[in-house]
């Protein structure tokens, strides 16, 4: 806790510096360098708090009679560490990347504020501080989204984003109002102590789910995410996707697991259902997306869904008193949060590097960057493999744990859970496979093949600092995948109070094998899998080179007899996605393709038009927006009445009130 003060102080100082030195290069170095140090401080504090008793602090600010309560317990510590890692990575990347910022004075002041907001969310121990930080985080990130404010798309993104963020804040406000009761017990300690009636607890749960889900990106509250995350500068996108969604998940955990206490099983069913739908929906959107950063944002939705599935599992087990299962699922959820922070930060950094190098995020204008950006390409490959859940990287480790949790107890007593668990397993499996497809596409189109535009053909590798940041994160992805036991053991004290138990100690196992429950049920050893793959690949390569031919000749690619050297003959992003679009998109997204083929003799070009509709947008937001528009059109007439009419209102009001008075008396 002692390090929190300096961290906050430096964030405040850095924000001020950002205002003053916004336009100077020194500002960039100071703000990002300072943020990097502060984030490392947070990381240290967070890791230190994992295994320590909770510390509390009450400051005489905030709500007058409550004060600002801060609390650092293992759960906050875990997420603090997460913010530290993600923040440090983004800051380090930004030291280099920020050089290419068009308007640094629009980014620098808000960047530390954003970090400070997120930090405060996980430390807050009363409703006021929590929401204060929650909304501050939204506001600061909104300002960052608006950094490149000129395009109409940004205006729309920022609008939808802040509106949804405020919706989330308002919903949480209601949830806290319910938990605080009429007495105004806003401190979390009071809320923990209170035992709300089942109905109240259920309502609070629903509100918390909506409120935090809107911020994390649960379907159908995710619409802002693919708009806002890409609009921000890439290092901010990394923070928003990699860290802020986790802070939202923290909010859910804090309210539902901690403040509400034991949950009813139907709540787990709701979380499982939403999580599963979100995972598949997000990745389906990602696989069809042609903007690189939007693709990454959609994939964030998918991962949020996966985490919520894991949390739902933990709730289900907890509701049935299965401590081991709850511990497994919750550990998996937290581990996946960490992993997503690592590889999504990495991938957004990659997208930033690509953007700097080529000036575009459009898949149809990229290609062949593996030749021009060799280091970025390696880091990107690791990130894509990790997010595609390939062993031995980290994404697989956490998804494997979640699958183990799904398979753990098929004999739960409630019918809802009995049905939901296998369905969720199927949805997760589908999501995992689609994620692999999605990132084959992303990597293949961006880095492989031939460049699809002049900019991609002449791209230059990014600066060394950015490269270092990407390589560090790639290494972290690999490390977390090779040694998952370290993370699992570190998370044990976080999980313990909520699950009522913990996973078996992992570090004592032979060869660092991961044992979710007991060895007979299934084990996984990332390190050995990694060693085996590397070893056998090396063995094969050595043997082949020793025993077989080593000769290499370069020649033209096979053109099937129709030589057309233009890169446009390659598969592009849209063409690559076409089979998937036809298989999955036609149902969910009503995708349509219209081919306009000129008749023989006609000289015009053939054309294909594809259309994708977002069902969530169409079914929920468009009608809602239309309703408000119609209502305001209808009501607008009231602005233009005559004075006599307005007097009529006064008169009518008076009569109504007097009548009411006579009736009540």
């Amino acid at each position: 806790m002692a390090l929190i003060g300096p961290a906050f102080g430096s964030f405040a100082l850095l924000a001020a510096l950002g205002v003053v030195l916004g336009r100077h290069a020194a500002g960039r170095w100071l703000v990002y360098g300072g943020s990097l140090l502060a984030c490392l401080l947070l990381l240290a504090t967070g890791i230190g708090a994992l295994d320590a008793p909770p510390e509390t602090l009450v400051l005489p600010v905030g709500l007058p009679w409550t004060g600002a309560h801060l609390r650092l317990d293992p759960l906050s510590g875990a997420f603090l560490a997460l913010i530290g890692i993600g923040g440090a990575g983004a800051s380090l990347f930004a030291v280099g990347y920020g050089r290419d910022e068009h308007a640094p004075q629009r980014v620098l002041p808000f960047y530390p504020a954003f970090l400070a907001g997120m930090t405060l969310v996980v430390l807050a121990d009363d409703a006021f501080s929590f929401l204060f930080a929650w909304e501050l985080m939204s506001l600061a990130s909104w300002a960052l989204v608006m950094a490149d404010h000129r395009p109409d798309a940004t205006a729309r993104a920022g609008y939808v984003y802040l509106l949804m963020a405020t919706f989330s804040g308002m919903t949480l406000l209601l949830a806290f109002g319910l938990l605080a009761g009429t007495g105004g017990g806003y401190a979390f300690a009071q809320m923990r102590a209170a035992q709300p009636a089942p109905f109240i607890a259920g309502l609070a749960f629903a509100l918390a789910l909506i409120g935090t889900g809107a911020k994390a990106g649960l379907v159908p509250l995710q619409v802002w995410l693919p708009l806002a995350h890409p609009a921000a500068p890439s290092h901010v996108s990394a923070l928003m996707s990699g860290v802020m969604t986790k802070v939202a998940i923290y909010g859910f955990l804090r309210i539902v697991l901690d403040l509400l206490g034991a949950a009813a099983w139907w709540q787990a069913v709701v979380v499982l259902a939403l999580g599963g739908i979100t995972a598949v929906f997000g990745v389906l959107q990602a696989v069809m997306e042609r903007d690189l950063k939007r693709l990454l944002a959609c994939s964030t939705i998918e991962n949020v869904g996966i985490v919520f599935v894991a949390i739902g599992l933990a709730m289900a087990f907890r509701a049935n008193g299965i401590a081991g299962g709850a511990a497994l699922a919750l550990t998996a959820a937290l581990f996946h949060c960490l992993n997503h922070t690592l590889f999504k930060s990495l991938l957004f950094q990659v997208s930033g590097a690509v953007l700097v190098a080529t000036g575009t995020r459009d898949l149809e204008r990229l290609g062949g960057l593996i030749h021009r950006l060799p280091v970025t390409a390696i880091a990107a490959l690791v990130g894509c493999a990790a997010i595609a859940a390939l062993p031995p990287l980290n994404g697989f480790a956490s998804e494997w744990l979640i699958f183990q949790a799904v398979l753990l107890r098929p004999d739960l007593p409630q019918w809802g859970l009995k049905l939901m668990l296998p369905v969720d397993g199927a949805l997760l499996a589908l999501a995992a496979a689609l994620a692999a497809a999605c990132f084959v596409r992303a990597y293949g189109i961006v880095f492989l093949g031939r460049p699809r535009s002049e900019a991609a053909a002449v791209a230059q590798e990014v600066d060394p600092v950015s490269r270092a940041a990407m390589l560090i994160f790639a290494a972290l992805c690999a490390l977390a995948g090779l040694f998952p036991g370290v993370v699992i053991d570190a998370l044990a004290p976080v999980v313990q109070p909520f699950a009522g138990g913990r996973m078996p100690v992992q570090l004592g196992e032979d060869w660092l094998t991961v044992v979710p429950v007991d060895a007979a049920r299934g084990t996984y050893n990332g390190l050995l899998v990694g060693v085996f793959i590397l070893g056998s690949a090396a063995l094969a390569a050595a043997a082949v080179h020793r025993l077989g031919s080593r000769a290499v000749r370069r020649g033209p690619a096979w053109d099937c007899g129709f030589p057309d050297p233009r890169p446009i003959t390659q598969y592009g992003g849209d063409s690559f996605a076409q089979p998937l679009r036809r298989v999955f998109g036609s149902v969910v997204f009503q995708t349509q393709e219209q081919v306009d083929m000129p008749r023989p003799g006609e000289m015009r070009a053939a054309a294909i038009v594809k259309s994708i509709r977002d069902p969530v947008w169409d079914l929920l937001y468009v009608p809602l927006g239309g309703f408000v528009a119609r209502l305001s059109d209808r009501m607008n007439g009231l602005q233009f009445l005559t004075i006599r009419r307005y007097l009529g209102f006064v008169f009518a009001m008076l009569i109504v009130l007097l009548l009411a008075l006579t009736v009540t008396q």
Partner: protein, 478 residues
């Protein structure tokens, strides 16, 4: 040593006379600012030395904050006004003669508002509110354009009816008090009334409250009594818009609160809570919807003021220590924030030569300080942290949801509606492609920054004495 409360009244009154006599507008503007600052100084004196309640004047926990706030906002507005009218004079929209009138009226209005705040006599309070209203009517019509006259006329007529209804209510309060307190002046002295309110005839008090609610509610801008408010804000000079939103609405609401205390002190009287909640909710929802079709930037923020008055009345309707505290806090915060917004908007409208939202764009780029000031102001007014309105809205919504879940949901819908509209327009004005002229404006940024800084501080930390006063008042409000 003259009593500061007398100074608070005398300085504006003297300045009115002086300013009416001075033809030089530059001197007038300076003197106006000086008088306002002096009044502010005197009001700060009230914080240190609070005179005992008299038959006519009273300074207590409730009004001391608002008197100081009044002094402060008036002082900053006078500074803003000085640069604002300079520009208006340069563009020929106003003449020195207008300004002489304007400055005198400004002080007279200040006098009226201060008098309404410190009056311990409900009759005197009524007179003072009427005075403040009439002076603002005159200033709203200052530009003499058809629209300005239209707005002033509308304001005047609706305001007059409101005044009449408020007077009727005041008479009824007197009638209720007379049998208990006795005839004469004492039966109109608020402190005496409060002391004896327990024994008043409850039905009479109820009827009185209905009339007072409608009468002063017209000034507050409660729907459906709000019609004058948007036009008056949009067509008058911007300093007046700032003062209208920032102060006059508060003064009217303050008057209403005084009477609510009487009702709260009488166990038999009807609880005005449900009525105020209903009116407040209606106001919030209505204003939220109306915000969407606004094309004039000042009218936009006028509707936002209506919305906030709705929230405040809703909060007072909720009552209880939290609801009342939230209402008081919201009053103070709204007054500071909204005037800051009008300072920014006023300069922006001047530089762009229009108040049409569609013709203003990208101002954070062309006028960073004004533009970001507007962004901060709007963020504050919609209730985002780290600004003070957030604390108030937090308290209102949480305590409402604990008591009346459905109503709280309605309130949240209204807040979100308003948020959506304001954010939409803010995005248009502050960001996006640059629209409108680019020349720099000779703006005084100090008032805006001072207000925003205060709102920011209040969002993080409230001074303990103020909290204590508000808590005491919240208790009295029932």
């Amino acid at each position: 040593m003259i009593d500061p409360v007398v100074l608070v009244l005398l300085i504006p009154l003297a300045a009115t006379a002086l300013l009416a006599a001075i033809p030089n507008y530059r001197l007038g503007a300076a003197l106006n600012a000086a008088a306002c600052l002096a009044t502010f100084g005197a009001s700060v004196g009230l914080l240190l030395h609070r005179p005992a309640a008299g038959a006519y004047l009273l300074v207590d926990d409730l009004n001391v904050v608002f008197v100081v706030l009044n002094g402060f906002v008036a002082a900053t507005t006078s500074l803003f006004s000085a640069s604002y009218v300079g520009h208006e004079l340069a563009t020929g929209r106003l003449t020195p003669r207008h300004l002489r009138f304007y400055h005198a009226m400004f002080q007279l209005m200040l006098f009226g508002m201060n008098l309404a705040l410190v009056a311990n006599n409900i009759g005197l309070m009524w007179v003072a509110v009427e005075l403040a209203t009439l002076t603002t009517v005159l200033m709203v019509g200052l530009y003499r354009t058809p629209e300005a006259l239209e707005a002033a006329w509308k304001y005047f007529i609706l305001g007059s009816v409101g005044i009449a209804l408020a007077l009727f209510g005041t008479i009824l309060v007197y009638l209720a008090a007379r049998p208990v307190v006795g005839e004469g002046l004492d039966a109109m002295v608020w402190t005496t009334l409060l002391a004896h309110a327990r024994d008043f005839d409850a039905p009479l008090l109820n009827i009185a409250f209905v009339f007072l609610l409608l009468g002063y509610g017209t000034k507050v801008g409660l729907v459906p009594l709000h019609a004058w408010l948007p036009d008056a804000h949009a067509e008058g000079p911007t300093p007046i818009s700032a003062v209208l939103s920032g102060l006059l609405l508060n003064v009217a609401l303050y008057a209403l609160l005084r009477f609510k205390m009487l009702l709260a002190a009488n166990p038999l009287a009807l609880a005005p809570g449900p009525l105020m909640i209903a009116l407040g909710l209606l106001t919030v929802l209505f204003a939220g919807v109306m915000l969407y079709r606004r094309r004039d930037v000042k009218r936009l923020f006028a509707y936002s003021s209506i919305e906030h008055m709705g929230i405040i009345v809703f909060a007072f309707g909720l009552a209880g220590p939290i609801g009342n505290f939230a209402g008081l806090l919201q009053m103070a915060m709204h007054s500071l924030t909204k005037s800051a917004i009008f300072f920014s908007v006023g300069h922006l409208a001047q530089v762009k030569g229009t108040q049409r939202i569609a013709e203003i764009g990208g101002v954070t780029e062309t006028h960073p300080l004004l533009g970001w000031g507007l962004v901060a102001g709007v963020s504050a007014i919609v209730g985002l942290p780290p600004f003070g309105v957030f604390a108030a809205e937090f308290l209102v919504v949480t305590s409402a949801f604990a008591q009346h879940p459905l109503l709280a949901v309605g309130l949240v819908v209204g807040l979100l509606l308003a948020f959506g509209a304001l954010l939409l327009r803010l995005t248009q004005v502050a960001f996006g492609a640059v629209r409108g002229p680019l020349q720099p404006v000779r703006a005084s940024h100090l008032p805006m920054l001072a207000h925003l800084a205060l709102v920011l501080v209040a969002g993080v930390w409230l001074p303990p004495p103020m909290v204590a006063w508000f808590q005491h008042v919240a208790e009295l409000l029932g």
